[in-house]
Symmetry: C2
Amino acid sequence: MSALSFEILGRDPGGYARLGRMRLPHGTVDTPVFMPVGTQATVKSLTPEDLVGDVGAQIILGNTYHLMLRPGADVIEKLGGLHRFMAWERPILTDSGGFQVWSLGKLRKIEPHGVWFQSHIDGAKVFLGPKESMDIQRKLGSDIVMAFDECTPYPATEEQALASMRMSMRWAAECREHLPVNDRQALFGIVQGGMYPRLRLESLAEIAAMDFEGIAIGGLSVGEPKPEMMAMLDALAPHLPADKPRYVMGVGTPDDLIEGIDRGIDMFDCVMPTRNARNGTLFTDHGIVHIKQARFAEDARPLMADCGCYTCRHFSRAYLRHLYMAKEILSSRLNTLHNLHYYTALMQRAREALARGNWPEFRDQFLQTYRGGDPEARTHNEELSP
Amino acid sequence: MSALSFEILGRDPGGYARLGRMRLPHGTVDTPVFMPVGTQATVKSLTPEDLVGDVGAQIILGNTYHLMLRPGADVIEKLGGLHRFMAWERPILTDSGGFQVWSLGKLRKIEPHGVWFQSHIDGAKVFLGPKESMDIQRKLGSDIVMAFDECTPYPATEEQALASMRMSMRWAAECREHLPVNDRQALFGIVQGGMYPRLRLESLAEIAAMDFEGIAIGGLSVGEPKPEMMAMLDALAPHLPADKPRYVMGVGTPDDLIEGIDRGIDMFDCVMPTRNARNGTLFTDHGIVHIKQARFAEDARPLMADCGCYTCRHFSRAYLRHLYMAKEILSSRLNTLHNLHYYTALMQRAREALARGNWPEFRDQFLQTYRGGDPEARTHNEELSP
């Protein structure tokens, strides 16, 4: 029996957007969903209590690469698995480590069954491939395991993208072989193929034919222009298996999420709300706000008037600016609480619109407001790096 | 009418220790009490919710020096005062700025009515004296205002200590003059006199004769050996006014607090639990623990078995070590929660012992255990710098 069951609860009749519910060993996840990133067994600055109570996170993401190096998968297994280690009782998705290894650039060497790389912590040589990644994620005990793949660089020639995609497809099969269907952990396959629709569709067909519990789309949001990313999702949307959850990895801004949902995507993750929070960049319905700006120095208003997060319910823009200028730890925390709450609340609003049947209206109004900006918020999303 | 009323609820019949209750504009404070330090309008890494719910803090301390420079007393006043600015509804004590200015060393120049100094933020020349300090603390709106004094350096000759003490006494009178008794803010005078009992007693007599709502003892824990500090408290104890709260500034370790209570002290503050937390040094009944030590790498036990803090209720030593090694923000926060909870719970235990009438037994047993150490905890308190 599979560790994942997925139910479609509603659809936008005129498009691909859908409302769903995923059941996993550690709980239920309503989709569309945003997954906060908890790289090193912590969503930076927050406790599990914050994530459940203030943020309303349903599922979080852990990074295999970081955890295998520190504190090590064996240590986490010995301590009862990642859930117990970090005291998080709801579902966890772990990535495969492939993306981080790929990010190391020259520090890695690709072989048929995996990649040699040097640890960024102590320079030790480490080998990671499909088999190793499955073993590590099994020790971590995540609810959703990601297949080990290569993230095709951008830009890449069609030939490069093809070779890279073929390797990822071989590795995907090896992953499923090493982690057969079981009732403890679901496994998602990852579609690659660079920016070539033909390769993407070929990859999707292969992944869909394997017995994965979910379909991920990798290799996007890696530096390509946004229209190119959206065009790729447009090309895939009609061909995505209807009965499986779909996950676009590493995406994105609030408007990216809405555009993604509109193209049939159910799951998202991104460091943007957490990383930008620490840099003093906050999300609102009217775009982003740089809290360090002098105009907030005596601004007694909450960051976002109608926001229900702990930060907006208690503190002024002036206080948030003060904490940021004074480099206080609480700055990172209050900003992270707001940004993650903003993302999860946005997904909640999207689910409500889908349930009510007025998705197109919600989508259009959100995008217009968000991209329109107003005197209180900068709107240059281009400034944000993922 | 005064902003402070103080009631003695119990006494150790054989000594100076006492149980009390202080009423202030923002609430009631049971003494003995430890006041967490919230230098820049935040107790580093914690929210007011943490401080009330998890730590059980009754009153916190704010630093005039830091707040006057950033964001500025006028800004805080405009935003409704320090309580509202930082969303803290319980009492606040603000220091006078004197200690921080004194810490600047060569960057200051003393004049009859105050001190010129250079801002550590932008190098601007700023003047701070009794009048200025009272004006700033009035704008901050703290429940307890501290008189502006000079912290006599250590070591100092008797002549130097005398001149410094005389100046502090003149300034104390100026402070009371600029901030007469009122129903919004209480004012504490500060006893100085270096390490000379004769000067200390002279200073105490002067402070006691003025109309202050509380008596503070300053200029301790500034580098002198511990026995010298305790000898000074011993010398003062029989002469402290019985009806006013007594506060030793900047003290100290858990055993210092117990020793201080034993010498009739009601109030304490120190950066030690918060600063040490960020350095991975944690307090337990058996002394201090350096969480970075390799022996904790796979230790599944909570830091302190019988501790009720959020950290000990949810996380293992191994997890705390991991967060520290990975330089995660959550490390500072979970460690701070534990250390401050430890301090406030220790004061709670002291109050209970005083209420039960077995203070001497509690004191002796605590000191023996704390200083005795055990295999699980280092006990070299000397390593800690305040």
